[in-house]
């Protein structure tokens, strides 16, 4: 099994019921992140109208990730497993990228509480990324 040089992957056999792992461990974390994003959008827009566009992008990316997780759970056999990890990481890319821009903007503007909220949010996004990387998806 190929190893990721960025994140260690589980060795050995693939998890036969990877969808159960996704349902039990990844889906709840993504749903929690989506709720946090919703709340953060409100906080960001209350702090400054300038944050609105980027905050909406973070929320939209969370919604896309949650929708993808639902799609996988609904029809796991229809999933392109060869692209799945890439497809799961892509919205996380947007969540982290725009989230970090917002955190930096908040820091520059001395919106200390908002900066701290985004720091926690981004740590949770990192944890989800680690779970995606650890997901032992059987080859297509």
């Amino acid at each position: 099994m190929a190893e990721s040089f960025d994140s260690p992957r589980r060795e050995g056999t693939f998890d036969a019921d990877w969808t159960a792992v996704l349902r039990q461990h990844l889906a709840p974390a993504v749903e929690a992140l989506r709720r946090d994003a919703e709340r953060l959008v409100g906080s960001a827009k209350a702090a400054s109208a300038d944050y609105g566009a980027d905050a909406d992008k973070v929320r939209a990316a969370c919604d896309r990730l949650a929708a993808l997780i639902t799609e996988i759970q609904t029809a796991p056999d229809a999933v392109n497993r060869g692209k799945l990890r890439h497809d799961l990481r892509t919205p996380v890319n947007a969540i982290k990228g725009y989230g970090e821009i917002l955190m930096e903007d908040a820091g520059d503007a001395s919106h200390v509480a908002l900066e701290a909220e985004f720091r926690v949010f981004l740590r949770n996004a990192d944890a989800i990324l680690a779970r995606i990387d650890a997901l032992a998806i059987p080859p297509a």
Partner: protein
Amino acid sequence: MPKILLVEDNEMNRDMLSRRLARNGFEVVIAVDGKAGVDMASSEKPNLILMDMSLPIMDGWEATRQVKANPQTAAIPVIALTAHAMVEDRQKAMAAGCNDFDTKPIELPRLLEKIKALLPTGG
């Protein structure tokens, strides 16, 4: 101000990374496919190229090979960017002539270190 050529087809990725690089003191020029990336490497003479590997028209591996095969652009350092975090992806990028490799989601401090390591002194 050092100039970076960002070759990336995804609009959000272009937006995120170009803004953050500009905030960190870089001039950023953009190409949206591999062919345009090769052309702009010649026309813009950037100090460094950030090359997404999954590109339309011409993929990032081929674009890198062409940049490195052209004496006018061969010396420009290229950092491969990819969402695929496998060892063989890194090996494939290095075999194409990339000077370094980074994975998405981008960790900006890590990428900045790689950029600074490849820029000429004072760049």
